[in-house]
Amino acid sequence: MFFAIPFKTHAQCKNFAKKICRLELSPYIHDGNYNAAILTEGEDAELFKTFYAGQQYRIAVCGSETLTKIEFMVMDVDRKVLYSNAKNNFATTWDFKVENTQQLIILVKVPVTSPKDEELKSGCVAIMFGLKTD
């Protein structure tokens, strides 16, 4: 029983990323990488990636239905915030291109929305990248 629960949540996370979050990338093509984890309200995750000049990208950051909203920020290597979806009505996607190849950091946070006397909610959070084709 103790081992069945994590396996089940992993499988749910995989299905969520594949069947729900991936659709947010359309019409961009998903790069094929899998970046997803179970996060609890108040927790955060960071992703480090190099983005290449000439390529147009779409970032999609999605949370499964137990999590009402997910915040994400795109930062440069000095951790200067370049984009925050909190300033954009918690949009789940952001389209961008880089003039020169850049290393960027995607910071994802699950805000606490549960009342203080209630248990914190957990759910799957996926960070996916779409590539624009010609």
């Binding site: 790069d31 996060l39 108040g42 951790r79 291109k97 910071l107």
Partner: protein, 305 residues
């Protein structure tokens, strides 16, 4: 002698204590994060760097599909002779060799597909399936995938979507099975193949000033991601060996210079696509390029042997 009831009691208490410890840690992390609003973070970048309670860190390498797209955009031509022959597949019997070559064949597959080389695409998908099965990643690439490719030979969009889906299946199955180390080796194999194809396509850099050389230089940035990714599974012997190879590559890349200026965001209201503007200064001497090309070839030969 401890009775069954006592054993159960001790076990229950132990579980409650363990759950209590984990809960305390989660709550403390929550409080730290709750004190920071997005506005506060935006106005004080040093505050952002003080966040130490990151639950999960991902190091994302360019996937084989992205690598192939970068190659094509930077003016690469298609040269099938550069690809790892599918006849070599029978040599790969260890986890490390199968994982590395699943990555290598995946990049070859993506490269072929972007140049509309349908027969090569199907051939490389078939050999990738063989590697995946050898690694016990069952169902990541099934016969319906090959059939879908065959039925859509003139539809590049469907072909790319199908390839993307097989990569996602492979990566997510490995994550689910707690085989992150194998996933990392696959990604590094794919990345090295991209670098091998790119460096092989550039003859004499003193005679060219092209995007391909720029993208090869840019891989110095991804190399740091490679090292961080591998470091996460360094207790694995295969990963450790690969990590040491990458340190050798890093030594060669030390002669390649990249400096990045302040990044600014320009939002295009019409297309809704933001542009990140910066001025990068890069340089590579012909000698450094030749050393890099030789090192990449040496590593790729080692991995495909």
């Amino acid at each position: 002698m401890i009775t069954g009831y006592k054993k159960l009691l001790i076990f229950t208490v132990a579980i409650l204590v363990a759950v209590g410890i984990v809960s305390c840690k989660c709550n403390r992390q929550s409080d730290e994060v709750m004190n920071l609003s997005p506005d506060e973070i935006k106005t004080d970048s040093s505050l952002v760097s003080s966040i130490e309670s990151v639950k999960q860190i991902f190091y994302s390498l360019p996937s084989p599909l992205e690598t192939a797209m970068i190659l094509k955009r930077s003016g690469a031509t298609y040269n099938e002779e550069l690809l790892n022959s599918i006849d070599n597949a029978s040599r790969y019997n260890t986890t490390k060799s199968m994982a590395l070559n699943l990555g290598i064949y995946s990049t070859d597959l993506s490269y072929a597909s972007l140049f509309d080389q349908t027969q090569a695409t199907i051939k490389y998908m078939t050999v990738s399936k063989k590697m995946a099965e050898g690694l016990g990643i069952l169902n990541a690439i099934d016969n319906s995938v090959i059939q879908k490719l065959e039925e859509n030979i003139n539809n590049r969009e469907v072909i790319l979507e199908t390839i993307s889906e097989t990569f996602l299946n492979t990566n997510s199955i490995l994550e689910e099975d707690d085989r992150v180390a194998v996933g990392s080796v696959i990604l590094v194999g794919g990345w090295i193949e991209g670098l091998y194809i790119a460096t092989s396509l550039v003859g004499d850099i003193s005679k060219v000033d092209n995007e391909m050389v720029d993208r090869i230089i840019d891989q110095k940035l991804s190399l740091q991601t490679v090292l961080n990714l591998l470091k996460q599974s360094i207790s694995n012997a295969d990963v450790k060996e690969l990590y040491n190879d990458m340190l050798e590559l890093e030594k060669v890349y030390n002669d390649v210079k990249i400096s990045v200026s302040n990044v600014e965001v320009v939002q295009d209201g019409k297309s809704k696509v933001a542009t990140l503007r910066s001025k990068n200064a890069t340089s590579i001497s012909p000698d450094a390029f030749n050393k890099l090309k030789t090192k990449v070839k040496e590593l790729r030969t080692k991995y495909t042997a």
